[in-house]
């Protein structure tokens, strides 16, 4: 199983011009940026696509300006937030009923998405097959039957596998939590 790299390690590889690193960067943060556009700002799909591409275009161009490689996630969140607001203001020129979004509500969603990314990182650490099973069930909304067919597992065992995989992710998160506490 490949060792998951930290955000800082991945950013450092991108800066060095490693083409595979950029693919991984987009893969790692695409859901986050997509969720901020959709769940945070409720942009229509075509507007979300504009913002999504603009976020990654600017990230690609400005990655060298990032002060701390560890801070890439909040940097991307801030960039996405700013571009979503720009998009909403642009839309409001044609349709004045579109108001600026509720900042507190956006902060709440972004806080949750940040936690979701922490859980996602723990899931990546747990690896397959749990990663694939949980991703299909929770993120892609696939049924037990579909998951069973694709992964060639009896559909009747999927629920118990999901439960065991969730337990593994929880243990991973607990371990992380213990590791971050001062001794």
């Amino acid at each position: 199983m490949p060792v998951e790299q930290s955000d800082a390690q991945l950013v450092s590889r991108c800066r060095e011009g490693d083409p595979e690193a950029w693919n991984e960067f987009v893969e790692r943060f695409s859901r986050y940026v997509y969720a901020i556009c959709g769940r945070g700002f409720r942009l229509a799909q075509h507007d979300a696509e504009d913002v999504f591409q603009e976020v990654f275009a600017r990230a690609f161009e400005r990655l060298a300006e990032l002060r701390s490689d560890d801070a890439v996630r909040p940097w991307l969140a801030q960039l996405t937030r700013r571009l979503c607001i720009d998009k909403l203001r642009l839309l409001a020129r044609d349709n004045p009923s579109e108001a600026d979004p509720d900042e507190q509500a956006i902060d709440d969603v972004l806080g949750e998405l940040d936690e979701a990314m922490t859980v996602r990182a723990a899931l990546d650490k747990v690896g397959d097959p749990c990663r694939e099973i949980l991703d299909r069930f929770f993120c892609r909304d696939e049924s037990y039957r579909t998951i069973g067919e694709i992964l060639q597992m009896p559909a009747g065992t999927i629920a118990s596998r999901i439960s065991r995989c969730l337990e593994k992710v929880r243990s991973e998160l607990d371990g992380r939590d213990r590791g971050s506490q001062p001794s």
Partner: protein
């Protein structure tokens, strides 16, 4: 104790559904698109006839120059030429 029980883990995972594949692929192709844009802008700066072709019909001029006129390349090129 970090407060991540199984129910909460599931709920948080649901928030991160995958972005459409085409969007992800387009973002991954940015480095190549960026290089293409640099070449097109450099050529437009040096070649007045090519610049006029771009102004007349940007997509067609990009394709005629042998590049794929993807929506990203077209919109970015439009911005670059406008600010140049």
């Amino acid at each position: 104790m970090n407060g991540f029980n199984e129910e909460r883990i599931g709920r948080l995972l649901r928030l991160l559904s995958p972005a459409p594949e085409g969007w992800v692929r387009a973002a991954q192709e940015l480095p190549a698109a960026r290089a293409m844009l640099d070449e097109l802008v450099a050529r437009a700066e040096q070649d007045a006839a090519f610049r006029l072709q771009l102004q007349a019909d940007l997509e067609r001029a990009v394709a005629a120059a042998g590049y794929e006129p993807s929506p990203f390349v077209v919109s970015r090129l439009r911005q670059l030429l406008r600010t140049d």
